[in-house]
C-alpha cells in the first residue's frame, strides 16, 4: 500500500517535472519570431561555414588542375558574396540570440518579482531571502542563457556536422565513412566526460565557497583570533581547504586535459585515414586533389562541433532544475488572498480600486480566533477573544522568542486565523482587500528597514503624494528634522544600502516619520531592544507617544514607559497569552508580569548609564 502511494507520488513528481519545463513556453512564445529567425539564420550560417572549403576545392580542381584563370572573377565575387552573407546572417542570428536571452531574462525576472509581491509574509518566513533571491536573479539568468546561447551553439554545431557529412557523402561516400565512423566515438567520449566534469565542477564550486567563507571568518573574526592566539590553528584549517581545492581542481584539470586530448587525437586519426585512403583515391584519379583538401578540412574541423553539441545538449538538460525551481515559485499560491468578489470590488495588489474603499476607523476584534503557524505544530491561540476599540493601545510583552508577533501578524493579515475571525470595524477582515487594510496600517519594525535611495524616497513610502509641507510636518513631529538638517543634501541625501549610512536611532526616527505620513488608523510597532544613546532614546519615546495618540495601536513593547501607559497589556509565554490586564492589576497579581517588569526595569537601568 505504502509502496503504491510512493509510486503514485513519484509519477506525480514526474509529471510536475515535465510541466516545469513546459512552463517556459509562455516566456518563449512571445518571442517566437526572434527565436525562429535566430534558428534559421544560425542554420544558414552553419551551412555557409561548411561550404567554404568547397571554394578552395574549386580553386584546386578547376584553376590549378586545369591551369586556367577563366572564371576567376565570378569565382571571387561569389566567394565575397558568401562571406558577406555569412556575416550578415551571423549578425542577425547572434543579435537575435542576445535579444532573446535578455528579453526572456527580463520577463522571467519581472514575472517572478511581481509574483513575489502578491505572496503573503508567511512565504518569506519559511523561505530564506538568499534562496528566493537566487530564484529571481540566478535561476532566471541560467535559463535564459541556455535557451538562447546553447540553442545557438547547438544549432550551429549540429548544422555544421550534418552538412559536412552530406557534402562528404556526395563527394565520395567511401572516403566519407573514414570521417563519419569517428563521430559516434567522439560523441560517446564527450558524453562520458561531460558527466564526469559536471560532478567535479560542482565539487570544486563547493570547496570554492568554503574558501570564501574561510576568508570571511578570518577577517570578521580577527579580533577573536588574536585574543585567543589561535592564528596557527585557523591557518591550518584554512590551508586544509585550499589543499583540497588544489587536489580537486587538479583532478578536474586532469579529466579536462584528457578529454580535449582525445578529441584532438580523434581529429588526427580522421585526418590520417583521409590522407591514406584519399591519397590512394587521388593517385588512382578517382577524386581530385581539391576534393582531398576538402576532406582533410572536415576531418580536422568536425570533431570539436561534436564535442560542443554534446556540451550544449548537456546544458539544456540541466536547465530543467532551474526551470522547476522557477515554476514552483510562480505556482506558489498566497495563503492570504482575497476572494474574487473582494477583488471585484476593491481591486487587486497592482490595481486597487480606491474609489470603492471605505474609511477605516480602527475597531479591532478577535472573535474566537484559533491560530497555528503554517509550519508549526502547536496552536498558539485557541478560541481567543479580544476587543480593541478604536484608539486603544495594546502592549504585548514577554521574553525574547516568546512569540509576541502573533497578534500583530493577524492584525496585519500577514497570516489568516486558522479558525475564527478578526473583525475590523465590525466586519470580517476578509470582506475587504488586503491592500485596503494595509494602506491604513502604520508599521515600524524593531530593526528599521530603509531602502537604498534618498531620504525623501523612503519617507514617501508612507504616502506617495505627500507634499513638502506634509514631509516637514511629519519629520518635525518625530524629532527627525535634526537628521535632515545634518545631512549634506537634506531630503535628497542617499542613505546607502539598507540605510546603512545612518545610525540605528536615526533610521528608527525616519521610519516613524514614514509611518506618521501614512496617517494610519492602526499603528503597529515592534520596539527596538538595542541600546541607543540617551538623547535619541528620549526622542524616540516622544515620537512613539505622538504616534499612539488617538490611534489603535499594537506594540511589542520593551520600554517601561510604553508598557505602563498601555490600555491593555498582554503577557506572552511560549507563544501563548498567559496574562492580560492593566499595569496596576497585573502588578498586583504578582504573576509573570510582575517578574518581567522588575527584570525589564533593571535592564533599562543598566543600559542607561
Amino acid at each position: 500500500m505504502a509502496d503504491k502511494i510512493k509510486a503514485k507520488a513519484g509519477k506525480k513528481a514526474n509529471k510536475a517535472r515535465f510541466f516545469g519545463l513546459s512552463k517556459l513556453w509562455p516566456f518563449l512564445t512571445v518571442y517566437k519570431k526572434m527565436f525562429l529567425s535566430m534558428i534559421v539564420c544560425v542554420i544558414l550560417v552553419g551551412i555557409f561555414n561548411t561550404i567554404m572549403p568547397l571554394f578552395q576545392r574549386y580553386a584546386f580542381d578547376h584553376f590549378i588542375a586545369e591551369e586556367t584563370l577563366g572564371g576567376i572573377v565570378p569565382f571571387v565575387l561569389l566567394y565575397v558574396l558568401c562571406l558577406l552573407l555569412t556575416m550578415v546572417l551571423d549578425f542577425i542570428a547572434s543579435y537575435n540570440c542576445c535579444k532573446l536571452e535578455m528579453y526572456v531574462l527580463r520577463d522571467m525576472r519581472r514575472a517572478a518579482f511581481n509574483h513575489l509581491q502578491t505572496l503573503s509574509v508567511s512565504y518569506f518566513n519559511t523561505n530564506s531571502v538568499g534562496k528566493i533571491h537566487a530564484r529571481v536573479m540566478s535561476d532566471t539568468s541560467n535559463i535564459s542563457s541556455i535557451i538562447s546561447w546553447d540553442v545557438y551553439q547547438g544549432g550551429w554545431n549540429l548544422t555544421y556536422i550534418l552538412s559536412a557529412v552530406v557534402i562528404m557523402l556526395v563527394l565520395n561516400p567511401l572516403l566519407a565513412l573514414c570521417v563519419i565512423v569517428i563521430i559516434p566515438l567522439v560523441a560517446v567520449v564527450s558524453c562520458y566526460f561531460q558527466r564526469k566534469l559536471t560532478v567535479l565542477n560542482r565539487r570544486v564550486r563547493e570547496i570554492n565557497s568554503e574558501i570564501t567563507g574561510g576568508f570571511n571568518e578570518g577577517i570578521t573574526g580577527v579580533e577573536t583570533a588574536k585574543t585567543l592566539a589561535v592564528e596557527d590553528k585557523l591557518d591550518r584549517s584554512f590551508f586544509d581547504s585550499t589543499d583540497r581545492m588544489r587536489r580537486q581542481a587538479t583532478r578536474l584539470g586532469h579529466h579536462r586535459s584528457l578529454f580535449y586530448t582525445i578529441i584532438a587525437f580523434a581529429s588526427s586519426v580522421a585526418l590520417a585515414l583521409v590522407l591514406w585512403y584519399g591519397g590512394v583515391l587521388t593517385m588512382d584519379a578517382v577524386i581530385e586533389l581539391g576534393t582531398l583538401t576538402v576532406f582533410m578540412t572536415y576531418a580536422q574541423g568536425i570533431m570539436s562541433p561534436v564535442q560542443w553539441s554534446v556540451d550544449a545538449i548537456a546544458d539544456m538538460i540541466t536547465v530543467k532544475v532551474n526551470a522547476e525551481r522557477l515554476s514552483t515559485l510562480l505556482e506558489t499560491k498566497s495563503d492570504v488572498s482575497d476572494t474574487p468578489e473582494v477583488v471585484e470590488k476593491y481591486g487587486d495588489t497592482f490595481h486597487p480600486k480606491r474609489e470603492n474603499w471605505e474609511p477605516l476607523y480602527g475597531d479591532v476584534e478577535f472573535r474566537d480566533v484559533t491560530f497555528k503557524y503554517p509550519d508549526g505544530e502547536e496552536y498558539v491561540l485557541e478560541h481567543f477573544n479580544l476587543k480593541v476599540p478604536q484608539g486603544t493601545n495594546v502592549a504585548i510583552v514577554g521574553e525574547t522568542g516568546a512569540g509576541k508577533s502573533t497578534l500583530v501578524n493577524l492584525v496585519c493579515r500577514f497570516f489568516e486565523p486558522t479558525e475564527g475571525r478578526v473583525l475590523i470595524d465590525g466586519r470580517d477582515a476578509r470582506e475587504r482587500s488586503v491592500q485596503w487594510l494595509h494602506s491604513h496600517i502604520g508599521y515600524v519594525l524593531q530593526t528599521p528597514h530603509l531602502f537604498s535611495g534618498t531620504v525623501r524616497e523612503n519617507l514617501l513610502y508612507g504616502k506617495e503624494d505627500a507634499t513638502q509641507e506634509e514631509l516637514d510636518a511629519a519629520v518635525k513631529s518625530v524629532n527627525a528634522d535634526r537628521i535632515i538638517a545634518r545631512l549634506e543634501n537634506g531630503y535628497d541625501s542617499r542613505v546607502g544600502e539598507g540605510g546603512n549610512t545612518l545610525s540605528t536611532g536615526e533610521k528608527q526616527l525616519l521610519s516613524f516619520a514614514r509611518a506618521i505620513l501614512a496617517d494610519p488608523a492602526i499603528f503597529v510597532l515592534d520596539e527596538a531592544t538595542s541600546s541607543i544613546d540617551t538623547l535619541t532614546e528620549r526622542l524616540i519615546q516622544d515620537a512613539i507617544e505622538k504616534l499612539m495618540k488617538g490611534r489603535t495601536s499594537f506594540i511589542i513593547a520593551h520600554r517601561l514607559s510604553t508598557i505602563r501607559s498601555a490600555d491593555i497589556i498582554l503577557v506572552v509565554e511560549n507563544g501563548k497569552i498567559v496574562e492580560r490586564g492593566k499595569h496596576d492589576e497585573l502588578l498586583h497579581a504578582r504573576g509573570r508580569y510582575y517578574n518581567l517588569y522588575i527584570k525589564q526595569f533593571r535592564e533599562e537601568k543598566v543600559k542607561s548609564i
Binding site: L83, T224, M245, L275, F350, E464, K605
Partner: protein, 607 residues
C-alpha cells in the same frame, strides 16, 4: 610569516614572483610541452604538403623529406604504401596527444598550486595584520581582493601569460615558414595581423567599461530584489507592492536595454572580425591559385600555406583580448599588493607571565586631537579582581585592548611584573591573558570544536567542564545534537547570551593566569551572571580577573573598582568606599539597585 616587518615592500612583479614560488617548474613544463606541440603542429602540414606534391603528385622531393622518404623505401615505394604516411601522422598525433595533455594538465596543476599559495599567504598575512589595519579596512573589500582579484591574477598567469608564449611562438614559426614558402603570399597574410590585433585591442578596451557598467546595473537590480525581500513586511504593511514593481521594472528594462546595446556591438565586432579573417583566407586562396599557375608555389605548398595561415590566425585573434586584459591584471596585482605590503604584527615567542599589572598615566588615541584615554593610572595586584564600570564610550574597553597589545599605547606605560608591555612579545601576552570579547566570533563548526579550539589538546572532559563553569552546559545539552551542534551560517543560531557563554567557556579552557571579561556578560541575565562569577571565584581563585561591565552587580564584589568617564578615571576604590564617597558610582548604584516607584508602593517598600 617570514616577511614580517622587514620593511621591505613588494613591487608588482616581485609579489608575483613571491606567489609563483613552487609553481614555476610546473608552469615551465606546461610551456615546454606547449612548444613541442607547436612544433609538431607545424610538422603535419609539411608532411601533407610533401604527400600531396611528391607522393600523390610527381614533383621531386627535396631536402629533409627526401631523406625520410628514403628511410621509408623511397618516394616510389611510398606511392604504393600511403598508409605508411598515415601511420606517421598517427604516430605524431600520439606524441602530440601526450604533450597536449601535459600542457593543460600541468598548467592547471601549476595554477592550482599558485592559487593555494596565494590564498594561504594572503590568509596567514591578514590574520597577522594589526587590529588597527583591520579597523580601517572594509571586510567586504578585503574578501573581494582575496577572491575576485586573486582569481584575476591566476587567470592572467595561467590563461594569458603562459599561453602567450605558445601563441607568440606559433605566430613566429608559422609566419617564418610562410615567408620561406612564398614571400608575397606571406606578406598578404601578415598585412592583416596588425589590423586584427588593433581592432580587437580597441574593441576590448572600450567594451570593458561597458561590461563594468552592466555589472554595476545588474548589482543595482539585485539590490532592489534583495531589499524587497528583506523589507517584505514594510512593503506589505504600507501596501507599496505597486511602487516596488515599478521600481524593479524600470531598472530591469534599463539593464536589459544596456546589455542589448552592448551585445549589438559585440555581435557586430565578432561577425566583422570573422569576415576580415575569412577575407584574408580568400585572398590567399585566390592569389595562391594565381601564383600556383605561375609556378611560384606548388599545390602542396599552397595547401600547407593555408594550414599555416589557420594556425597563425587563431593566436592573432586572441592576442588583442589578452593584451587588453593585462591592464585588468595590473589593477588586481596592485590591490593585492596593498594588503601584502602592510606590516604584520611582531608576535615573538610565547613565554610565561606573572606579576602585578600597572597602568601608569596611560593615554590612547586613534587621532591625536581625539583622545580616547587620558592619564589613566591604576594597579591590579596579581591574583586580585578589578571591576571597571562606565558608560558607552567611556573608554573602558580600550584599556583592555591596550593591555593585550591589540593597539599600541599612545602615552604613558603599562607594566606587568614591572616590565613595560612593549617589551613583552604579544605572543606571551595573549598566551597568558584570557580575553573574552563582548561579541566573540564563533567559528563554523561544532560547539565542542569552538570551545576546544583555543586549548592545547582539550579533551571532552575539559570541554564539558569549561561549559559548566560558563553556565552554558545545560543549554548545549538541550540542543538535539548537544555538543556536536553545528553553529554559524549553516547551523543553529545561538542567542546572544548563549554565544557569550560559549565564548567564555572557550577562554576558560585555556587556563590563563589573567582573565578579562569585556562586557561579556551583557546578554546574560543577572542570576546567570552571578552564578558564573561564583564558579570563577571557586575555580580560578588564583587568577587575576578584570571585569568590565555596565552592571553594578557584576563589579561590586571586586577588590578594586575603577569608574571610567570620558576616557578618564573618575574614581576608584572598593564598592563600600565608593558608595561612601557618594560620586558617580553611588549614583549608578542607587539607580540600578532601586525598585520602580510603583513597585515600591506595591510591595509596601515605602520610600
Amino acid at each position: 610569516m617570514k616577511k614580517a616587518n622587514t620593511g621591505q615592500k613588494f613591487t608588482g612583479a616581485g609579489m608575483l614572483g613571491y606567489f609563483l614560488r613552487g609553481s614555476r617548474a610546473l608552469f615551465l613544463i606546461s610551456i615546454l610541452s606547449g612548444l613541442v606541440v607547436t612544433f609538431l603542429n607545424v610538422v603535419i602540414p609539411q608532411i601533407i604538403s610533401f604527400t600531396v606534391d611528391s607522393v600523390i603528385g610527381d614533383e621531386p622531393s627535396g631536402g629533409i623529406f627526401a631523406f625520410f622518404a628514403d628511410l621509408f623505401g623511397g618516394t616510389e615505394h611510398l606511392k604504393s604504401a600511403v598508409w605508411m604516411i598515415a601511420l606517421v601522422i598517427v604516430g605524431i598525433a600520439v606524441v602530440m596527444a601526450v604533450f597536449q595533455y601535459c600542457v593543460t594538465y600541468f598548467n592547471t596543476r601549476a595554477n592550482q598550486t599558485l592559487m593555494r599559495g596565494m590564498r594561504n599567504k594572503l590568509f596567514a598575512h591578514i590574520q597577522r595584520l594589526p587590529l588597527g589595519w583591520h579597523v580601517t579596512h572594509q571586510t567586504g573589500d578585503i574578501i573581494q581582493r582575496c577572491t575576485t582579484d586573486a582569481d584575476v591574477i591566476s587567470n592572467f598567469i595561467a590563461n594569458q601569460l603562459v599561453p602567450l608564449f605558445r601563441l607568440i611562438i606559433m605566430v613566429v614559426l608559422s609566419l617564418t615558414l610562410m615567408f620561406v614558402m612564398n614571400v608575397w603570399l606571406a606578406l598578404i597574410a601578415a598585412a592583416f595581423i596588425p589590423v586584427l590585433i588593433g581592432y580587437s585591442l580597441v574593441f576590448y578596451t572600450k567594451a570593458r567599461k561597458s561590461f563594468k557598467k552592466c555589472d554595476e546595473e545588474e548589482g543595482v537590480l539585485s539590490t532592489y530584489a534583495q531589499e524587497n525581500l528583506t523589507g517584505v513586511r514594510v512593503v506589505r504593511a504600507f501596501g507599496r507592492e505597486r511602487y516596488e514593481r515599478d521600481k524593479f521594472e524600470k531598472q530591469n528594462v534599463y539593464y536589459t536595454g544596456l546589455w542589448v546595446r552592448i551585445e549589438k556591438f559585440l555581435a557586430l565586432y565578432w561577425t566583422s572580425n570573422d569576415f576580415v579573417a575569412a577575407l584574408q583566407c580568400m585572398l590567399l586562396i585566390v592569389v595562391g591559385t594565381v601564383f600556383c599557375l605561375q609556378g611560384s608555389i606548388s599545390p602542396g605548398d599552397l595547401v600547407a600555406f593555408i594550414s599555416y595561415n589557420t594556425m597563425l590566425m587563431g593566436p592573432v585573434r586572441q592576442l588583442g583580448r589578452i593584451i587588453s586584459n593585462m591592464s585588468r591584471a595590473g589593477v588586481s596585482i596592485a590591490r593585492i599588493g596593498e594588503i601584502m605590503n602592510a606590516d604584520e604584527e611582531e608576535y615573538g615567542v610565547a613565554g610565561t607571565l606573572s606579576g602585578d599589572i600597572e597602568f601608569k598615566n596611560v593615554s590612547f588615541w586613534y587621532e591625536e586631537d581625539k583622545p580616547v584615554l587620558r592619564g589613566v593610572s591604576f594597579k591590579i595586584p596579581e591574583g586580585s579582581t578589578l571591576g571597571v564600570i562606565g558608560g558607552t564610550g567611556s573608554g573602558k574597553s580600550s584599556l583592555m585592548y591596550l593591555l593585550d597589545r591589540l593597539y599600541p599605547v599612545s602615552g604613558g606605560e603599562i607594566t606587568i611584573g614591572g616590565v613595560n608591555i612593549n617589551d613583552i612579545p604579544p605572543a606571551t601576552l595573549r598566551a597568558n591573558i584570557g580575553f573574552v570579547l563582548q561579541e566573540g566570533y564563533l567559528y563554523s563548526g561544532t560547539i565542542a570544536e569552538n570551545i576546544a579550539m583555543a586549548g592545547e589538546n582539550t579533551d571532552d572532559g575539559a570541554i564539558v567542564h569549561a561549559a559548566e563553569a560558563a553556565c552554558v552546559d545545560e543549554n548545549i545539552r538541550s540542543f538535539a545534537s548537544g555538543y556536536q551542534t553545528v553553529v554559524g551560517e549553516r547551523g543553529v543560531t545561538l542567542s546572544g547570551g548563549q554565544k557569550q557563554r560559549v565564548s567564555i567557556a572557550r577562554t576558560l579552557v585555556r587556563k590563563t593566569p589573567v582573565l578579562i571579561f569585556d562586557d561579556s556578560l551583557s546578554a546574560v541575565d543577572s542570576d546567570t551572571d552571578a552564578a558564573i562569577r561564583a564558579r570563577l571565584a571557586r575555580e580560578f581563585g588564583n587568577a587575576t580577573v578584570i571585569l568590565i561591565s555596565h552592571r553594578i552587580t557584576t563589579v561590586m564584589h571586586a577588590d578594586n573598582i575603577v569608574v571610567m568617564e570620558n576616557g578618564e578615571v573618575a574614581e576608584q576604590g572598593t564598592s563600600a568606599e565608593l558608595i561612601e564617597k557618594g560620586g558617580i558610582y553611588r549614583r549608578i548604584y542607587d539607580m540600578q539597585m532601586s525598585l520602580p516607584d510603583d513597585l515600591k508602593e506595591e510591595v509596601g517598600y515605602g520610600g
